[in-house]
């Protein structure tokens, strides 16, 4: 301990060796929310619509994240000859069960009988993956939902007709099939997952870049700000959609290709807001005080200014997320999105447009997309309410 401090403390009447208990008690960990955050949480909950939207969205999101356990063309677990198998995670070659394919087709009646004879297996509630084609639909694809048909009709293509063990609820097409005989519900669940994940990843990445860029511009100002702002003006003038069309003509578009191209343009969304907050904040007296203490610029930006900018950023985020999701959907709809065959909501809409005679395609796509976007907007509104400074201060 600094000797000067010890002396000062003794002069001031302190027992240096035995400080008071409450004086040295470790600060409480950040478990307790600060009063301002408590008030924000309260404001968030007060917006009932947003609060419920968050719960509904979370349930849907978790279900979609567990898509392989909900709707899949392979069992979750199986026991075969006393061996515990997890087909969800492991691709077993078919020769294990006496077949010849490299990857087992569990929907094949021969494999099913083989496993049933030497063990058992547990199927997910829906026995289709987004790729699996239902060869047993009674009507040429696109087929309407199974519940619109009676049992006779539903089972007409199975080898044993209505008596066939595979003609059960697990093999129903709850929302019908698309024009290639794939289950719409399965494609919906996987499509929802990829949309939300894509949106979240894009939002997160563009926020990080946008906040960093806005922070640097706002904090340093001057030439840095001027040049950066002009660059952004030029950059945003590039039409993103055409660029993607051009790029997709010589690159196979995939998740990461699309992600990179969209990220290159979406990061500018937050720059303006964050820059404004930093421009405003850098003249606050507590920033001057920190500078006078000798705190370095990156630390000032991180510890003192960023929390100010976070309010505006968090308010914007749900809307950026929505924007990202609809961009992906739009690209898929136009056929410039995810590679052919991937589950995607945009592709479902495109099929709906091409197959007006099969309204379940378009209606399902429309309902799911509008539900997802509405839920996110409701959550966004509640977040905005929660961070409204007029409600959370004073």
């Amino acid at each position: 301990m600094d000797s000067r401090l010890t002396k000062d403390m003794e002069n001031a009447g302190y027992d240096v060796l035995n400080p008071l208990a409450e004086e040295t008690a470790p600060p409480p960990r950040k478990m307790r929310l600060s009063p301002i955050n408590q008030r924000r949480l309260m404001n968030f909950k007060a917006n009932r619509r947003g609060f419920w939207a968050l719960w509904v969205f979370l349930v849907l999101f978790i279900l979609a994240m567990l898509a392989e356990f909900v709707t899949n063309d392979r069992p979750i677990i199986a026991v075969y000859n006393g061996e515990l198998l997890a087909p969800v995670f492991v691709d077993y070659p078919e020769e294990k069960f006496g077949g010849f394919l490299a990857v087992t087709d569990y929907r094949d009646p021969f494999i099913q009988e083989e496993i049933a004879a030497n063990g058992w297996m547990l199927w997910p509630p829906v026995r289709y993956s987004y790729r699996s084609v239902n060869h047993d639909i009674p009507i040429p694809a696109p087929a309407p939902p199974s519940w619109t048909m009676d049992k006779e009709k539903r089972c007409s293509r199975y080898p044993l007709g209505a008596e066939d063990p595979n003609c059960n609820m697990g093999n129903w097409n709850w929302l019908g099939t698309d024009d290639q005989g794939r289950d719409v519900l399965a494609r919906l669940v996987y499509g929802f997952r990829i949309s939300v994940l894509f949106g979240l990843a894009l939002t997160l990445a563009s926020s990080v870049i946008g906040i960093a860029a806005g922070a640097v511009q706002g904090y340093y100002g001057g030439w840095v700000d001027l040049l950066f702002q002009r660059f952004i003006e030029v950059w945003t003038a590039i039409p993103t959609l055409y660029l993607i069309l051009i790029v997709s003509s010589f690159l196979v578009p995939g998740f990461w290709t699309l992600f990179t191209i969209l990220l290159a343009f979406s990061w500018v969304a937050l720059v303006g807001v964050v820059r404004a907050e930093f421009l405003r904040g850098r003249n606050f007296e507590y920033i001057s005080a920190a500078r006078a203490l000798g705190v370095s610029n990156p630390v000032i930006m991180w510890r003192h200014l960023l929390p100010n900018a976070m309010v505006a950023t968090l308010t914007f985020m749900p809307f950026i997320l929505n924007g990202s999701i609809s961009t992906l959907t739009a690209l898929d709809f136009l056929g410039f999105g995810m590679p052919p065959g991937s589950a995607s909501l945009g592709e479902l809409l495109a099929q709906g447009k091409n197959n007006i005679q099969a309204p379940w395609l378009g209606i399902t796509g429309f309902i799911v997309i509008s539900l997802m976007l509405s839920l996110l907007i409701f959550i966004g509104e509640a977040v905005r309410d929660a961070f409204d400074p007029r409600k959370s201060f004073l």
């Binding site: 301990m1 000067r4 401090l5 000062d8 403390m9 001031a12 302190y14 400080p19 409450e22 004086e23 040295t24 470790p26 600060p27 409480p28 600060s34 009063p35 301002i36 606050f284 007296e285 507590y286 001057s288 005080a289 920190a290 500078r291 006078a292 203490l293 000798g294 705190v295 370095s296 510890r303 003192h304 929390p307 100010n308 201060f393 004073l394």
Partner: protein
């Protein structure tokens, strides 16, 4: 004092008035059953510290509170025998700006920045008197003349930002007077102004009141103003009027403890004795801060704004150098330049070492020894950090080696030293009062055990009684640690209590400098004399010596 104070019937009569604010279901009583009268041609002062409910009471008279968040559980406000609290929107609008008008504290934000002076004043005439353009213009010119604006024709098309603070307040007064109200409510009309301008504005208000025979309800925290300008005074604290009566009676024979406390709250005590033997901590020679004025396409520098223009400063260990001057005189710029927070030219030496050429990085180790305490106790503390984090931040920078427990102990000690309970250090700044926040600011500077502290108006945002406490605290800390202070203030009473040397600045230059006794007791220049007269006797200087 007006001779007919006692004979008149009341013009405004506030009876049993309460004001409550409801927020998220909780009701707080801001004003608790107050009663007072304002008679014709009389000036009544409402005195109290911030949060005492004086402004809220005044705003209730014109129903300017945010209803329905605000409500009046009890009371009547009788104006010419009519209850204003019961009046509907249409009726109260006829009273506002007509029978009763109001001037506010902050003349910059009280005027619409997008409208020229003529439009702002003419608006009221057109609304209440139905005047046409030409008629209104004549009346506006007449009013501007009355409130002492020079060349009113020239000023008609000026926007608020083209006027000085004093001129803006004059325009506000012109607006308030436009319809010759019976009662003028003045809510701290001079608090945001320099002392010299304050004296002028008070003089003007007094003059106008006599000419127009208005009554005035004057809200202030400054007892000096009350003593000089009011006929009667109501002392408010915690939403209650604890004492009221004629000014002379209250000042000579205060009955209530709180009144006595207020009257005793002037900053007192003696500055440290001047001792030229003490080592010099900070010295600056011929310090200049010039901001270039750039014009034209190539941004050529055509002129400079000379914020600080060739100033010599010497601060010794354990001594205080006071820098006084009106706003815009360059005193804060001078302080920031000495601390190398902004660039300047001229020699700056800290403990004999020339620091003018130091880079920002080379300055960092020295920052431990030179600290700043800022004016605004609300703006100077990051609202998202706890007090322990705020005070401990400097320790993290300058003592990176010490443990978290050690840092915590030093923070606790610094807080105890400035008179705060160390157990409160995990709270956030918004839970503290203005005075406590200023103590936290001081603790943040003191925890690093600096040699030199620049105090930039550390008391001007605080209430009188808190000011006196902070002054005492600063003096004690100086004595205990042998600190060198550079004390910047426009408040001469505080400077007199703290500084042993004083520099009077005006427009970036030194007007007069010397020992504190000499400057205060025997000022040599007209400007310093005018400053002293305005600060201590609220006397307006003749034209030409001080700014308008």
């Amino acid at each position: 004092m007006s001779e007919n104070t006692m004979t008149n019937e009341p013009l405004l009569s506030v009876e049993d008035l309460s004001v409550a604010f409801t927020q998220s279901g909780r009701e707080t009583l801001a004003v608790d059953r107050i009663s007072f009268d304002v008679r014709k041609r009389e000036t009544v002062a409402l005195v109290g510290e911030s949060g005492s409910g004086k402004s809220v009471s005044a705003l209730s008279v014109l129903k300017l509170l945010p209803y329905p968040t605000a409500s009046h559980p009890s009371g009547r406000i009788l104006m010419n025998g009519r209850d204003l609290l019961q009046a509907d929107d249409g009726e109260i609008r006829k009273v506002r700006g007509n029978d009763v008008s109001m001037i506010f504290q902050e003349p910059m934000t009280s005027l619409n920045p997008l409208h020229p002076v003529e439009k702002q004043i003419a608006e009221i005439l057109k609304i209440h008197r139905g005047m046409g353009d030409a008629q209104a213009r004549t009346r506006v010119l007449e009013l501007l003349n009355q409130v002492g604006i020079h060349d009113p024709e020239q000023r008609l098309n000026s926007y608020p930002h083209q006027l000085s603070g004093g001129q803006r307040q004059r325009v506000m007064i012109a607006m308030a007077l436009a319809n010759e109200p019976d009662l003028l409510i003045a809510d701290e009309p001079t608090t945001a102004l320099d002392v010299t301008v304050q004296a002028q504005i008070l003089e003007l208000l007094k003059d106008l009141k006599r000419k127009h025979g208005m009554a005035m309800l004057f809200i202030t925290h400054d007892l000096g103003i009350v003593r000089k300008f009011a006929d009667r005074v109501c002392v408010m604290t915690d939403g209650k009027i604890v004492e009221q009566g004629p000014v002379a009676e209250i000042f000579d024979n205060p009955q209530h403890d709180y009144t006595r406390h207020l009257l005793a709250a002037e900053p007192k005590g003696q500055p440290p004795a001047t001792d030229t033997e003490k080592p010099i901590v900070v010295q600056a020679d011929d310090l200049k801060v010039w901001f270039p004025v750039k014009r034209g396409f190539l941004r050529k520098t055509v002129d400079h704004i000379k914020a600080v223009d060739g100033i010599d400063v010497t601060v010794r260990e354990g001594q205080t150098l006071g820098i006084v001057g009106e706003s815009g005189s360059g005193k804060t710029t001078l302080g920031l330049a000495i601390l190398r927070m902004i660039s300047s030219t001229g020699r700056i030496a800290f403990k004999g070492q020339d620091i003018q050429t130091h880079s920002w990085k080379e300055m960092r180790p020295l920052r431990r020894d030179m600290q700043i305490v800022f004016q605004d106790p609300y703006g100077a503390l990051s609202p998202r950090m706890s007090v322990a984090e705020i005070v401990g931040e400097g320790l993290k920078v300058h003592f990176p080696g010490i443990t978290a427990e050690e840092r915590d102990r030093r923070v606790a000690k610094a807080l105890e030293e400035v008179g705060l309970d160390a157990a409160t250090r995990h709270r956030y700044p918004h839970e503290f009062s203005g005075g406590q926040r200023q103590r936290i600011s001081i603790a943040r500077a003191m925890v690093l055990e600096p040699k030199f502290v620049m105090l930039d108006e550390p008391t001007s945002a605080l209430d009188m009684s808190v000011q006196a406490q902070v002054v005492d605290l600063l003096r004690d800390l100086q004595k205990a640690h042998g600190l060198a202070y550079l004390f910047i203030s426009h408040d001469l009473k505080v400077v007199r209590a703290l500084a042993n040397e004083v520099v009077v600045m005006r427009q970036g230059k030194v007007v007069e400098s010397g020992s504190s006794e000499q400057i205060f007791d025997a000022p040599r220049t007209d400007y310093t004399k005018a400053l002293m007269a305005a600060a201590f006797r609220l006397e307006a200087a003749p034209e030409g010596i001080v700014s308008v």
